[in-house]
Each structure stands twice: as structure tokens, then as C-alpha cells.
Symmetry: C2
Subunit: 360 residues, 2 copies
């Protein structure tokens, strides 16, 4: 597929660990509820209807790029991590949080899942949306594809929605460790096909969201989450290399800060996303100590600082830029998705401050 040439490759260079003239910046969930133009589309369409309609997903993906043109360095395809459980045969509703009418209650329920998932058939709408968005972006910024990490998806599939303690999912880990590991790998296999398909469709960087990584002890993370994350990075890299279309891989294992060292050595990702609960100076030291080639970092301002007004935003961005330093290999971002109720102009100010304080 031929796409227009890329005019802004800051994100891709920083993801490779290179020194950049300033830090590239985007924010997780940037096409979301804080934007009035998003809420307007949402009034007319259900959440998953938007995901499944390439024209709508494209429109929403582009909204922040239009609004913040010149200030924002990446688009991320509008989609949801729960399309993978859907592709595996589970029903997922969004009202407004995710909810599974028929979650997995015992390992026997695994039989209910689709044995072989044809991602082109089940998730072709994402690939179409990516291709269309990439075309409409016209090379302005790179397009990010993504999926959820197996542990996070496993937890949703068993809990049936969000949960404070992940009691049900953890009960599986502790009572049925072997069945859990097998299911985690089975989810990973679907993620691999899905991620490779996204690159074939036009994605220029891939991010894996392990949103619930931080709920596990470091031991349990290493036992239950890391193997499937490594399976994804190694398999996706191998398949993309064969296709001669390798792209940078980012892992955001939210809260797994105690595992940053092992992630930088073993996980096989080019970029590790950070939440705000680790000092960037500490994070830089850990990844420098451990890796042959230091991985790049992404993050990590507390999204709530966007409620603090221009003065607080500037002070915190300045501090964050100082802490990550000017050595490159850093993608500026929040430490978690942007939340509803943020004033879009405050986000604009965040971008402007990153430009100002991260310039070499």
C-alpha cells in the first residue's frame, strides 16, 4: 500500500532511542470524551458502532490532530482494547463502562471462546479504519495502532467489567494457574495477528496497554503477564521483519514500576510507558543500568494536573522535561489516559509547554 510520505517523524525517532530536537508528544485517549467534537459524534452513535465504522473511527482519530495541528506528534486509531475479547466470541457492552453479559466464570467456559480467530474477518473494520486514517493524515503525523495486553484482557473477560480488586481474575491465577497461563497465551496469539494486521493496514507504531499490570505483585507479573508480553513482542517483531515492515513497539504496563528493570531487560519492547508514580530520573537510571541498548521511555505526567490550571501545568511540564532530560529517547505523554472534563485549551497549553521545555 502506498501512503503519502511522513512529514513529522519525531515519534518514530524518539521511539528508537534517538536524540530529537524536541520531545514528541501525544496523549493517551486523546480522541475521547474531553473533546466537544467527540461528544457530539457520540451523541449520535454507540461506542462500538464508532469503532466498527471506519469513517467514524477515522473522523474521531483525526479530531485532535486537526485541533492541535503543529503541536501534536501522533494519531492513535480510535478503537478499544476489548475488541479482542469480542473477536474471541464474547459479547461486550459499553454503558458507559465496559460490561460483559456472560463473563468466563470457570476454566470450562474457555470452550465457549472461538477456537480459531480470523482477525481479518472479525477485526477487519479496524484495519480499514487504519488505512483510511493513514491516507487522510496525509503524512502529517504517524499513526499508532494498539491492543490490550493478555493479562488485562483476561481480567476483563473474567471480571466482566472493571473491578477494584480483580478478585475473580486473581482467583483464577491462584486456583487455576496452568489454565490461566494457557488462556493468556491464547489471547496473546490473537493480539499478535491483530497487531501485525494493523501494521499491514498502515499503523506506524504499536502500543500494548497492560492497564492492570500494577495490580499484580512483581512475582505474579513475571509469572502471569510477562510471558505473554514477550510472546507478543518477539512474534510481532519476527513477522513484521519477514514482511520488511518493522515498526517500534511500545509497552505501557501501568503501575508495574517495580518491574521496570525486568521489563527493560526481558520484554523486548522499544519503548516503555510510565505512569506518574515513578520519578523519571529513577526510570532513566533503571533502563540505562539494565539494557544493552537503553529502551526509550514514554510518559508520565499525572493526568489530573490538567485540572490544575495553566500555572500548575507549566510547572509540572517543566519539571517533567527537566527530569527526562535532553538525551532523547523520550516521548512526552500523560501517565494515563486523559480524563473527561479537561478543558481542551488546557491540553493545548500542555502541548505548548512540552514544546517549550523539551527543546534541545
Amino acid at each position: 500500500m502506498a501512503f503519502p510520505p511522513l512529514k513529522n517523524d519525531l515519534l518514530l525517532r524518539a521511539a528508537k532511542g534517538e536524540k530529537t530536537e524536541r520531545a514528541p508528544v501525544w496523549v493517551m485517549r486523546q480522541a475521547g470524551r474531553y473533546l466537544p467534537e467527540f461528544r457530539k459524534v457520540r451523541e449520535q452513535h454507540e461506542f462500538f458502532e464508532i469503532c466498527r465504522t471506519p469513517a467514524l473511527a477515522t473522523e474521531i482519530t483525526l479530531q485532535p490532530i486537526r485541533r492541535y495541528s503543529g503541536l501534536i506528534d501522533a494519531a492513535i486509531i480510535f478503537c478499544d482494547i476489548l475488541v479482542v475479547p469480542q473477536a474471541m466470541g464474547m459479547e461486550v457492552l459499553m454503558n458507559p463502562g465496559p460490561s460483559f453479559p456472560d463473563p468466563l466464570t470457570t476454566p470450562d467456559d474457555i470452550r465457549k471462546l472461538r477456537a480459531d480467530v480470523d482477525v481479518d474477518k472479525e477485526l477487519g473494520y479496524v484495519f480499514e479504519a487504519i488505512t483510511q486514517t493513514r491516507k487522510e493524515l496525509a503524512g502529517e503525523v504517524p499513526l499508532i495502532g494498539f491492543c490490550g495486553a493478555p493479562w488485562t484482557l483476561f481480567a476483563y473477560m473474567i471480571e466482566g467489567g472493571g473491578s477494584k480488586t480483580l478478585q475473580k481474575a486473581k482467583t483464577w491465577l491462584y486456583r487455576h494457574p496452568e489454565e490461566s497461563k494457557a488462556l493468556l497465551m491464547r489471547i496473546a496469539d490473537v493480539c499478535i495477528d491483530f497487531l501485525v494486521g494493523q501494521v499491514r493496514a498502515g499503523a506506524q507504531l504499536l502500543q500494548i496497554f497492560d492497564s492492570w499490570a500494577g495490580e499484580l505483585s512483581p512475582d505474579d507479573f513475571a509469572t502471569f503477564s510477562l510471558p505473554s508480553l514477550v510472546h507478543i513482542s518477539s512474534s510481532v517483531r519476527a513477522r513484521l521483519s519477514q514482511l520488511d515492515s518493522l515498526v517500534p513497539l511500545t509497552l505501557f504496563a501501568k503501575g508495574a514500576n517495580q518491574s521496570l528493570s525486568i521489563l527493560s531487560i526481558q520484554s523486548g519492547y522499544d519503548v516503555l510507558g510510565l505512569d506518574w508514580c515513578i520519578d523519571p530520573v529513577v526510570a532513566r537510571r533503571i533502563v540505562h543500568q539494565n539494557a544493552e541498548k537503553a529502551v526509550a521511555l514514554q510518559g508520565n505526567m499525572d493526568p489530573n494536573i490538567l485540572y490544575g490550571g495553566p500555572e500548575a501545568i507549566e510547572a509540572y511540564v517543566k519539571r517533567m522535561c527537566g527530569a527526562f532530560g535532553k538525551e532523547g529517547g523520550w516521548i512526552a505523554n500523560l501517565g494515563h489516559g486523559i480524563t473527561p472534563g479537561v478543558d481542551p485549551d488546557d491540553l493545548k497549553w500542555f502541548f505548548e509547554c512540552v514544546h517549550k521545555y523539551s527543546t534541545s
Copy 2:
């Protein structure tokens, strides 16, 4: 006040960092909803009615001591961290989670708080319950008093209940940093009086619960939470020394694992509680590196492992005991409060496994 002599001082010796013949063990929220005898009392009485009725609070405090006699090494007074906001003049309901009908919405609302809090008047019922419980314990195990940390109480007082993101409380920190710091210190002053009063009434160890410490970045934790925690430890220690009744002080700053180093150097607590998201070996290394005298540690098994059945419980307890080692200065516990639905016999097995695997 004369109380019966203490027969089991394992907890107090371990809290001082001493090597003990086995690790003392108790669990946070041990007098709670997982116990049928607690639920029976709760059917007849409202939550805060129990807190305010010394005979009921005593009864519930003693329930796990009776059930696990010989296996459990501490009682913790039945109460709630939100009695401090109540003492400051705020209404708090429990239905079933905590809810404030009239939370603080702007710094102007601070005027609504009681200017001087007479803890003997407002919280005398806790002191009575402590004295009565200490008598009835007859020296079997020590009695722990506690309160919430200022940051956690501040967050409740502003959010008006639990919250996923603490958006409102953080908006205060970022928009009104000076007013926030002043309020945090004002809450700390009430906590100090309350904690000293608990020791005068008979408490033999004090624990401060900073349940939401982990929601703050390390910088924000150092700026907003740590100063009031230090104010508490230094003031309580000074006042108890004058009374010649110093007791060990424990801080459980849940999730603030990136701040363990600074806590071990600066916080002034004898014991630091750990959640399950830090490897005990790593935690030991950090507190040994940093303190003149290594602080003791408490924790840290994931409470959800109690749903995993006897085999998982034994394997995880064995691993935890191995990781904390036999050097002493360790109080075995869960990494957070025990949750409803746990089989009391599984908790018994947890205690038995700690006895088995932590014996020197």
C-alpha cells in the same frame, strides 16, 4: 492505668527491629466482614454505631482473637479512619462505602470545620473502647490503635467518598497548594491528639493508614503527604516520650513503593507497611541501604491469594517468609485489608503457614 501483663510481645519486639523466634502475624481489617460473627453484629447495628459503642467495638475487636487464639499476635481496635473528619465536624455515612453528604468543595469550606477539636469529647468513645478491650484482652496480645493519614483523610473530605482518580482532591493540590498544605497540617494536628489519646487509653502500637499514598507521584507524595506524616511521627513520639509511654509507630503508605527509600530515611516511623506490589527482598535492601537503623517491615501478601485455596496460600506464604528472611524486624501481614468472602478457615491456614515457615 494498670493493665494485665503482656504474655505475647512478638509484635512489639519485631516492630523494634528485633529478631524474633517467629514472625508475629495479624491482618488488616481482621475484625471485618469476612467473619460471620461480625456480620451477625452488623445485622443489628449501624457501622458507626458500633464504633461509638465501646462494648460493641470491644466485642468485634476480640472476635478474631478468640477465633484464632494462639495463632494471631495482635488485636486492632475496631474503628474507622473517617472518625477524624467526623471529629472535625463533617458528617460521614456508611452505605456501605463511606459517603459525605457535604464534602469540602472549595478552600472556603474549610471554615465549616471545627476550629478546635477536643478529641476527648469527640473521640472519647474510641479511648473507652481501647481501655475496655485492653482489659478484656488480659495480656493475650498487644492492642493496636490507628488513624488515617492526613492526605488520605483530605482526599475523602474533598471527594466525599471513594474515587477512582481522586480528581477533586488533586485539583485542590494543584490549584490551591498552600491551602491544601495548611489543611493537611490541621488534620495532622487532630491525628496527633487522637493517637496520643489512644496510647493513654491503652494502645500498645500505633498505625497510620495512608491508603491513597500510591495515587500521588513521588514528588507530590514528598510535597503533600510526607510533611504531615513526619509531623505526626515526631509530635506523637515527643508527647509520648514526655508521658514515658512511647510505643512503636507504623506507617502503611499503600502503593508508595517508589517512596520507600525516602520513607525509611525521613518519615520517623519504626515500621513501614508494604503492599504486595514490591518484592520483599527489594524492600529489605532499600531500608537497609538507607537508614542508620533499618526500619522494620510489615506485609505483604496479596489479599486475593486467600481466595486461592490452601495450596496457593501455603506456596505464597512460604515464598513471602523466604523473601523476608529470618533476620527479624518483620511483621507478617497481608498487603492490604482482608476482603469479604474469604473463608475464615483459609485465614486460619494463612496464620498456620506463617507460623510454620517463619520460625527461626
